[in-house]
Amino acid sequence: MAAPVKLTIDGKAVEAAPGTLVIDAAKLVGINIPSFCYYEGLTLQAACRMCLVEVEKAPKLLAACTLPVAEGMVVRTETPVVAEARKYTLEFLLTNHPLDCPVCDKGGECELQDMVFRYGAGESRYSENKLHVDEKQWSPVVFYDGPRCILCFRCVRICSEGMGVGALGIVNRGAVSEIAPNHGDHLECDECGMCIDICPVGALTSGTYRYKTRPWEMDHVGTICTHCSNGCKTTLGVRNGQIIRGNNRDRSGINGEFLCIKGRYGFDFTDHPERLQSPLMRVNGKLEAASWSVALAAVAKKFSEVRARHGSFGVIGSTHTTNEENYYLQKFARSVLGTNHIDHHRSGDVVTLLDALSGTAGSLSTTADLYERKAVLVVGADLSSQQPFLAFQIRANYRHHQARVYVVTENEVREDGIAAATVRVDKGGELAGVHSLAEKLKTESELVIVFGDSIKGEAVRELVAFGNSLGIPVKYVALVDYSNSRGALDMGLVPELLPGYQPSNQPGMTVGEMLESESLEVLWVVGANPLESAAMKAKDAFVVVQEMFLTETAQRADIVLPAASAYEKTGTVTNVTGEVQRLKTGPSTMGAKPDLEIIGLIARDMGLAAAVGPWIADKVFEEIRATVKGYSVPMAIISAGGAAHTMPVNGRIPVESRPDLIHSSRDNLFTSGTLGRYSKMLGSVMEGRQA
């Protein structure tokens, strides 16, 4: 690396790498130069003139956002001349800006408001009529109010560069420029809302949050998105026990400010009118509301009775409940109910990957690796549609570090556009496709391989062998579907494995086998919907379901217990790359209880509470950290809201991973399993309806 450049900003000595922009160099010493069009990570625009600074020996003020540092440069950012210039820039921006602050959604967190407050261009010399253009609705998500736009083009750039969609453009020139959507009067895009959040003013507003409240009126709760496996942090704005909006403007969490439509707007299932708020019991063939104490007592009675005569229990766990709940459920099932018939919907072959990587260190990729490593190979997955944040990381890596991206898929994917090489294969031909890239991959210095559910069982071992043959450091990601699919595996929600991938050495039934079994006496389903696509053979089995909605499975239940959503409880979840993060309680739904508490209360009513321990998330997590391999993660990171990477198992896993049971449900941007059916927002966008 070249020697750093030395310069002075506001009297402070700064050392920065050659090529650094003055606006970034100033940040190194804690000086914030105001900017509208400059945005970290996006291409330069130099459109707004807000960042003007005084540079010694330069005849005029210069734009700090496009000015590279130079040796001996002396920069001043807050002189009277600079303040004056900024004030006039603001006066210009305000010439046609409506006096909308009282009704504008951005009021209170608007960058233009803040700047005017700071530099005071409150009085305008412009007295002509302002040009008014009506507000436009481009989609159920995106609204555009032209007169408020300050033409910084952040939205255009985040959509084309960040999202790889390019749905927004600019029409006309000069003062009458406008932002325009890609289909005349409407948008057809990812509906991610990135453009809305990045807009410094209230020109782009969102369908869910519009005119509802004010930023200071909400509690801001940073929790983890409950939809896909990527584990983005989403900050929920909660008012009166109701979620009003989701975003991540504070850029906390692994995803920075990235969120897809599900993380940003898919929270609305929590107050869907069909949400269950009272336990239901089957009386004369019909489900009727019952009190918690009656319903729990009935469950406990049945469980105790079947347990006493060693009857057969089947337990199906969830892909979106917390690690604590999963651990507690399997502990209850295995040690109290004495059954090994416990399973969940498996969507990726993590087991074989961990086994194949046994004895190596640093072979499991994190989400940050996808942004930092020099090359990425995507095998058999449409990341932009199914793993939106991972795709965002790879795109950012390509833009910022010129990463080489290799794609081996059946169909065209968005990553093709940034790929160094693309191989189209037939179904099942993925491995052959990967082998055809061997020569190219050998020239790389490092690689991350991301693979979908078409690579499972032996194919995973072959892929790892291929990785080893390249002679470069390779990291892997086995893709899974839902917010805690990975945690369900880690916590042993499978018959053949205990928590931490310890073999259970005891045959148990899988989901399919439980549904096929005619002798099953009790089926206990926690946050899953297996009967959506299959029927149940055991006609007389007693079915207990913990759910948020009356799903197909809940309709067949004898007792339904209303569960709290991930946004209404605490606990930890593990994302696709094995990063553990903690949930925070936002709103609450009257009548529903967290699954952990429900399981605990069943144990209590059976008189067996001591056998499973307290149903307090923190206590259970302590036990997980102490006993589950890979989960002795630093508590400081978890409590501070960070993401801690789980350790590799590093030991052979002597079981068959059952590749026949692994299949991804391939949810796209607008679906999210059963949960997605209850989100009005996901159902309202036209892209979702077409898909």
Partner: protein, 166 residues
Amino acid sequence: MPNKIEEILETAAAIAKGMSVTFKEMMSPTVTENYPDEPPKFEERFRGVHVLQRDESGLEKCVACFLCAAACPAQCIYIEAAENTGAVRISGGERYAQAYNIDYSRCIFCGYCVEACPTDAITHGHGFEIASFNTSTLVYRKERLLAPAPPGARPPEIFTEAPSAH
């Protein structure tokens, strides 16, 4: 016995002085009010129970900006905002207050809310008889705070037109 005479004269002077005050007050206008037998009189700037104003066309002036609630040191203003549509038009701006409550068990009549309001929607009226045995009756809803619509008020034409497609 000059002392006795002096004493009598002094007493008479004192009585005359005292009575002069009494007679002067008897002649000057009364300031004491006969409340509650007669209605009290207020200075214009008296800060009493709030009134939410309407504009000349009868639309509510409040646009649910929450600034009064933000300014209120007693945190006694509660607002829920909603959007005006072609069919339902309540205020002159893009949005209106669907709920607007002031909790008079907490309000200290400081006037900050009035100061903060960008649309002059919230004002202090002269109402003051709000004592109650039941504090829950002290939360006044919008309906109770709103000024009556001016006689003959009609929403302006531009709002009654069918919304144009763009």
